[in-house]
Symmetry: C2
Subunit: 427 residues, 2 copies
Amino acid sequence: MKPFNQMNKEELQSLKLELEEKFAKVQAQNLHLDMSRGKPAKAQLDLANGMMDVLGSDSDMVCEDGVDCRNYGVLDGIAEAKKLLADMSEVDVDEVIIYGNSSLNVMFDTVSRCMTHGVLGGTPWCKLDKVKFLCPVPGYDRHFGITEYFGIEMINIPMLPTGPDMDMVEKLVAEDASIKGIWCVPKYSNPQGITYSDETVRRFAHLKPAAKDFRIFWDNAYSIHHLYDDDQDFLLEILDECEKAGNPDLVYKFISTSKVSFPGSGVAAVATSKNNMADFKRHMKFQTIGHDKLNQLRHARFFKDMDGMHEHMRKHADILRPKFEAVLEVLEKELGGLEIGSWIKPKGGYFISFDALEGCAKKIVAKAKEAGVVMTGAGATFPYGKDPKDSNIRIAPSFPTPEELAAAADIFVLSVKLVSIDKLLEQ
Amino acid sequence: MKPFNQMNKEELQSLKLELEEKFAKVQAQNLHLDMSRGKPAKAQLDLANGMMDVLGSDSDMVCEDGVDCRNYGVLDGIAEAKKLLADMSEVDVDEVIIYGNSSLNVMFDTVSRCMTHGVLGGTPWCKLDKVKFLCPVPGYDRHFGITEYFGIEMINIPMLPTGPDMDMVEKLVAEDASIKGIWCVPKYSNPQGITYSDETVRRFAHLKPAAKDFRIFWDNAYSIHHLYDDDQDFLLEILDECEKAGNPDLVYKFISTSKVSFPGSGVAAVATSKNNMADFKRHMKFQTIGHDKLNQLRHARFFKDMDGMHEHMRKHADILRPKFEAVLEVLEKELGGLEIGSWIKPKGGYFISFDALEGCAKKIVAKAKEAGVVMTGAGATFPYGKDPKDSNIRIAPSFPTPEELAAAADIFVLSVKLVSIDKLLEQ
């Protein structure tokens, strides 16, 4: 089929009739398919069921250094969990703090702490007239939700194939002291699956922000979430680069096992400089006596070490890979060459990002919904839920079964075609 | 023995020599005993070990309403956990929100939310020149730690046998709009073990604070933590009283299973009005996708219902009761009638509160430490760590074994006697 923009009105009209007939048929099937959230599928959760057998009533629940994990104490995590999550974060054991069940919660608390207590003794952000964050777009809706909730003004930064537009980032942070942070998902980014290039990471490490309390919120959510064993992205370790650049305190790095073990019942961690760790811990010691050490112990004993965790992630990949490939195949086969949308083939992470013709994203999501397919709301990948081009759609292929996914992808491409034809006919 | 204040100098001097000799002997034993924190003992933790068997790799981890507890979702708690913790809180299921592993964390987050977002749409407290909290004393050091960390000014309110001095509370909240809250441990209070009288609870419910955003932080930490089956304190349910008084939004009630199952691996909850719940949830939905549902399920299936929980608490009481009684026996036997200290015999909770002669608490704690007994730091039970009379000492008898406790109590009373003699000799 030739590109849609090379078709004349009659061709588009006749194609529309044909596609509408197809659409009516799928609609009649009354499907209920969900490609909206990056949730692991049941089969992935089953992989970690063995974790429920690690601790039993007759287990020794004392950890390496003699702490009874059942009792109070240990603010920043048991030794075994620190080792495992430091390795996962590619940092030293003394550069990591273990948290509760969710890194999102830690990011929220971190912004909240900056608001009420500032950074390293600086002015609390709530005392400032204006606080701004840079937001690479498209990005993760829950990041933008946190900054919006705290009244922080968000500035869109375009994503390039190498990561955020660093020319723009460097310029803005250097000239505006009210810019206090940037949200980054540096590896297999949400939603595009882009991994920041070495140059991008180094430019981040060398930033010269006007605000001394500027911090990079480095959400390494998909650090080991590869789809292919032999074709993986590599990300430079940012703390190390910051140290080398003489900017040791610039980054807060967040990780969790949410999509490794169980979402909601995993273990989260922060890796950062000694100075920043003191800031985190000063807050923590008033906030809690300690996080769930039994769950930390459960994780450490189940995975044993990074080899165990990588082995486990390969099993996740075996389940996820065919799903990603199924969607990508449908996109390629049905939309390839039509010039009504573009997408990136990711090597890891949880999403496929689709860019429709301008002004079409909302209509495509609505159209798919008419046939029972729930997508992430159009605009969700942008601050304030506003995609200036109304173009980006996040596809989350992890949760449905392969069969459901095939059906959902068919409905999606049909919706893209129909909405694109309408746009072209209007012109 | 006659009261110390009726002894003459010679009598005191000679007693001092005798006691110093005794003290030197215990000191030579090089003991290491800890009565500093309200930590359950190993035997108490063992009681809940069966909870580790509740979920196994072949368990159905789907809860009543079909939610897979292993995956993302469910912001405010699974149905089973809501039922259990609502019953524990003596409120309806729709008046409770389930949180993570610690009620301290929820209290901290609640103060933090009030600072950044205010109460029910009111001015964020961080935008106000002055925020004050009332602090019944002696009280819980971690409460005071939270308010101090957020720069909230704390005002001491004396505890009476019926609870906080309500004349003072009523007067202060009515005339000072900068008073935004009060910390309460209404049942088996920390450290005195006092349960608020019905009149006190009703007066709380009828408060007429000048500040619309004044809230009672009702930390019902020891609601079911009785020492005696046949001699228990009863506490009026405050939400109900507030509703009746036309003050439905006045209270935030916090509970947790920290000293029921495992400290640090329990489940926390808040019970409050519908309006307040909306405030809590609005915040929560940006802070987390959900708390640890597997741990919620584990608790619900292990305890089954309140009967199960009460039955479990009886086993805790069987372990704790002899420890409390051992300490109280030593106090009575060694200090009774000497008029150098007073204490309350609690019917539940985790502490015995001891009031020494004025100006003696710090010296007594230091003296006991010389012989290897670690007590809670004197002053810790007061805001800013400052006991104006330097009199109150918190005794935590739960963690040591009965044998250790007997030795520790002996050292404690010896320390009280020696320090008191010094004070009397100085006069």
